[in-house]
């Protein structure tokens, strides 16, 4: 049944096909113009990751939420499907962005052998994963917000929550600095170089899981 729900959302998202191609082309041109290697993965991952959330608006505008509840599926599966779509789109966005960057830079290097741009694959992958992590954070906050307040209000609430989160993080950092808390930057750097990717992936899974549990709890009680 999740497959059927995924197909429903993909059918609706297929209306974005043309806009998406234009965005990818624009990103390709931007990479050529700026020669910024890290630009593509972050932008494409953000766009594709966020587009997946527009399926909530499609369901809301078409008043299909009631119809969906009459389909042979449970509320748990309905929520699960939205997360599969969100995670899938983030991964797809990351891979597409990565590939686009590699292809564009290599084509440029082929056409302009006098002006070779070196790709640091390690930092490119780290940037891509960082971008994916950022999008997964936004999705993890936004999906439960949409379930709670609806697609329109949910977006506003998401920004408020994100703002609060940033304030808390900055607040803690400020307090630590004020308390003359010693931060061993070198140690953190070497730790992140060793375990950074695993940590990011771990936190991504945790964020999605918590977000899924909250979303399901909200949706379970929601009366359409």
């Amino acid at each position: 049944m999740i497959k059927g729900l995924l197909k429903k959302d993909l059918y609706n998202l297929s209306t974005y096909k043309a806009s998406l191609i234009i965005v990818i082309l624009f990103c390709g041109i931007a990479i050529i113009g700026t020669e910024a290697v890290t630009f593509g993965p972050v932008i494409i991952c953000s766009i594709i990751g966020m587009i997946s959330l527009s399926t909530f608006s499609y369901d809301e505008i078409s008043k299909s939420n009631k119809y969906i509840l009459t389909l042979p599926t449970s509320r748990k599966e309905i929520v699960k499907e939205k997360f599969i779509l969100a995670i899938g789109s983030t991964i797809l966005g990351g891979i597409l962005g990565l590939l686009l960057t590699i292809i564009v830079i290599n084509v440029m290097n082929y056409l302009r052998p006098e002006n070779i741009i070196n790709i640091d694959y390690e930092s490119l992958i780290i940037t891509t994963i960082g971008g994916m992590w950022g999008i997964s954070l936004i999705q993890s906050i936004q999906i439960p917000s949409i379930y709670k307040w609806g697609a329109e209000k949910g977006r506003i609430q998401m920004f408020i929550l994100l703002f609060v989160l940033i304030v808390i993080v900055l607040g803690i950092a400020f307090l630590l600095m004020k308390a003359n808390f010693y931060i061993n930057v070198e140690m953190i750097e070497s730790f992140m170089n060793k375990y950074g990717l695993i940590l990011l992936a771990f936190f991504m899974i945790i964020m999605y899981y918590i977000s899924y549990r909250i979303s399901y709890k909200i949706y379970k009680k929601k009366e359409e």
Binding site: K3, K7, N12, K66, Y67, L69, T70, S74, E223
Partner: protein, 252 residues
């Protein structure tokens, strides 16, 4: 057979800016709908018809009471029941960026209809509802009647046994309404069960085998249209309804 046993739905609403209050959208609703029967759920706006049908369709959970389909209930057999029902309301806009064909294809996918069968099914439904002319047009560009036909068509892809139709003909012209009413009658002949809510009393009188009149969340009368007219000593369901509620008042 659909069996509704003492269904009650309680909501909390704002009484004023500060206070909240409980109110019953439906209270102690009891009835049965047999196979091959059209049951009309009648009543004015706000009577509790939509809430009742949403509970039967599995959209809302009753506060109290039990709903069974051939002895199965939502708690234990949610998926099996939902495979057999079709819910249609008058205000669904459906995904209007898709064409009618794409929407039906999507619904076939959702219900797990095989590729070969889905093409066959879409062809059949298109013919029955007279949708050939606009099958490949975007739903956003269709008229209200055509959109409601597509809406009805999407309910049919999985060949349901139970139809839950909530004001399915509201806002439609006489021809579009008649197509839907004829379709409902044909489905009854096939042994399907149809719950049909409307506030068009004449429409209900024409197609329903039995009628349940609801007002303020309670059943005020149930029976065949003939029985209701006889009991209330009236010549039509409209007058029968007013006789039951004691005439028209602002409150109604």
């Amino acid at each position: 057979m659909i069996k509704i046993s003492n269904i009650t739905k309680k909501f909390i609403r704002n009484k004023n800016k500060k206070e909240k209050e409980e109110f019953y959208a439906d209270k102690d609703i009891i009835f049965e709908a047999n196979d091959g029967e059209i049951i009309g759920i009648l009543g004015p706006n706000g009577a509790g018809k939509t809430t009742l049908l949403r509970m039967i369709a599995g959209i809302l959970e009753p506060t109290e009471g039990k709903i069974t389909f051939d002895g199965m209930n939502y708690k234990d057999n949610e998926i099996e029941i939902k495979q057999k029902i079709a819910y249609l309301s008058g205000n669904t806009k459906i995904y209007d960026t898709l064409s009618s064909y794409e929407l039906l294809k999507m619904c076939c996918d959702i219900y797990g209809v095989s590729k070969e069968n889905s093409e066959k099914r879409i062809k059949e439904i298109t013919k029955v509802l007279g949708m050939e002319q606009f099958l490949y047009n975007k739903i956003a560009n269709l008229s209200t009647g055509q959109t409601q036909k597509v809406n009805l068509a999407r309910c049919l892809v999985h060949n349901p046994k139970y139809y839950i139709l909530d004001e399915a003909t509201t806002g439609l012209d006489i021809i579009s309404s008649q197509i839907i009413l004829n379709f409902i009658k044909e489905e009854r002949e096939k042994g399907k069960t149809i719950l049909y809510s409307t506030h068009y009393m004449e429409e209900a009188e024409n197609i329903c085998d039995r009628v349940i009149m609801i007002n303020k969340g309670k059943i005020i009368k149930a029976g065949t249209p003939e029985e209701i007219k006889r009991d209330t000593n009236t010549s039509n369901l409209r007058d029968a309804f007013f006789a039951m509620i004691g005439g028209v008042s602002d409150e109604e």
